[in-house]
Symmetry: C2
Subunit: 292 residues, 2 copies
């Protein structure tokens, strides 16, 4: 696929981030340093890219959706910082680097997560080139899907499922909320900010659901068969933490089939939206065949 | 002062909260229970009351500002849950009851805090009877003053000041950010949502600053001379944690004088706003002479 499109988006995200969270020296700069550290560890920037692509496809102009793209990535980043804390997954490695709390201490890492979550809404509400009622609707969707009815709810089910035999329906709900939450938000918010119709918002939502499921099952497969060096984090962590996953339930081969099926369903949703979906289609396929 | 006004507000807040965070049974209800537990411990509800009073004084109608009042109190509540965690102040008692993590465990308490912070923005962005551009402006102010340039920044300075001799200017900055952050937000947002002028927003901001300083110094005095039973939390915690406070710097008697001076300055700011300020004036005086 065309990596120059991805690289342009990544450059835009990095520049936008510098604008909204500059490296200033203050009496509280330990927390801004810590916020910057985790955000700037990089990552695939999938969520903001999906948001900006949906915005473009639905007729949105230029980089007007960037504040929301940044907000979404800040929320994703905060969730990783809090997930890695000793009272949660207790992971010391993230993207091949020491986790936030390993570098800054647990107290500052906790506050850096809180800070990124709060700053996400500051950044989103600073969008100036989008009609206010659309911004408000997008903030409503973002806070819903990042909250207890979305990502946080999924995280809770994940914690409670450790060491338990949970039915596949609960694993589905877990994946849909925990991983699907922000991917649904990405797609929906892109359409909303561009002023897209309720039908298009619905297609984007379904796209996010299928992609979320496919993405998480691929993650589980990589945790079983992947390479620590490529992943930048230890493998077999699900087994170590006795987590309920699709792989534990269906085995790797069946899971690969399920991923293909979900990917096709996600693409079907895309094709219901008028516009140049070629890049998003490639990205969707790439994500389900990734090795990291 | 007229307690029926306060009781009416508290009833409104409790009802509104039930609407926005009902006691539903779900696969993730441990986190919603935990969120509800801390919110419903009560407290003085000062911030939402100040917000609704400023809204009323500046010509706002009915309970239209309630979603923002609830949002502010959710943010205050999340900050208390995270403050009490073992990696922060490690407090096992809050408002005379076991802290959130003592009841629900550290992992759920962490997520309950994250959940309340996120749900605050969901609740605020659900306000339907206020013009969208005013809601957006209010969300911008809320996220700024609750974030690293506000409450979180103050929390960071507080952590870093433990066991250190810090200059009085830094204690001022700490108090202004940590305690003043949400009080400034309360006053400013009330005016903003009512469509008040920039001059009135400025007066509200200054009111919040003076009240924030007075409130924190009163807290410090109570921590030195107060009564555990009335406060619902252990006294001398500042001394135990070796915290830099006004009381450690100036002593109790001088601090009481400073509180009177700050209270008068806060009232001066109120008097620059046209409207029926009598209740807010009484509340301001009451807060600086409280014993809990």
């Amino acid at each position: 696929m065309d990596n120059s499109v991805i690289n342009n988006y990544i450059e835009l995200i990095d520049k936008g981030f510098e604008h909204f969270l500059p490296n200033n020296k203050t009496n509280y700069s330990s927390v801004t340093e810590s916020m910057r550290y985790s955000f700037l560890l990089g990552g695939k920037r999938i969520r903001p890219i999906i948001l900006m692509e949906f915005f473009r496809i639905c007729g949105g102009e230029g980089n007007k959706a960037l504040p929301f793209a940044l907000a979404l990535e800040m929320i994703h980043t905060y969730s990783l910082i809090h997930d890695d804390l000793p009272c949660m997954d207790d992971d010391i490695l993230r993207r091949g680097k020491p986790s936030n709390h390993v570098v800054y201490g647990e107290d500052i890492a906790l506050l850096a997560g809180d800070g990124l979550l709060t700053h996400a809404f500051y950044t989103a509400s600073s969008a100036r080139d989008i009609p206010p009622q659309l911004c408000l609707q997008a903030i409503n969707v973002l806070s819903d899907l990042a909250g207890y009815r979305g990502m946080i709810g999924g995280q809770v089910i994940d914690l409670q499922s450790e060491g338990e035999q949970v039915p596949i329906e609960v694993i589905d709900e877990l994946n849909l909320l925990k991983t699907g939450g922000l991917l649904r938000a990405a797609a929906k918010i892109g359409v909303i900010l561009a002023g897209g119709s309720p039908e298009k918002i619905k297609c984007a939502d379904n796209f996010g659901k299928y992609l979320g499921l496919a993405f998480q099952i691929t993650d589980d497969i990589l945790d079983t068969c992947g390479d620590t060096a490529l992943l930048g984090k230890p493998v077999k962590s699900d087994e170590k933490n006795d987590k309920s996953t699709y792989v534990a339930f269906y085995g790797v081969e069946k899971c690969k089939e399920i991923v293909v099926d979900l990917t096709n369903k996600a693409i079907d949703c895309l094709e219901k939206i008028d516009g140049d979906i070629s890049f998003l289609k490639e990205l969707t396929i790439e994500l389900s065949s990734r090795n990291h």
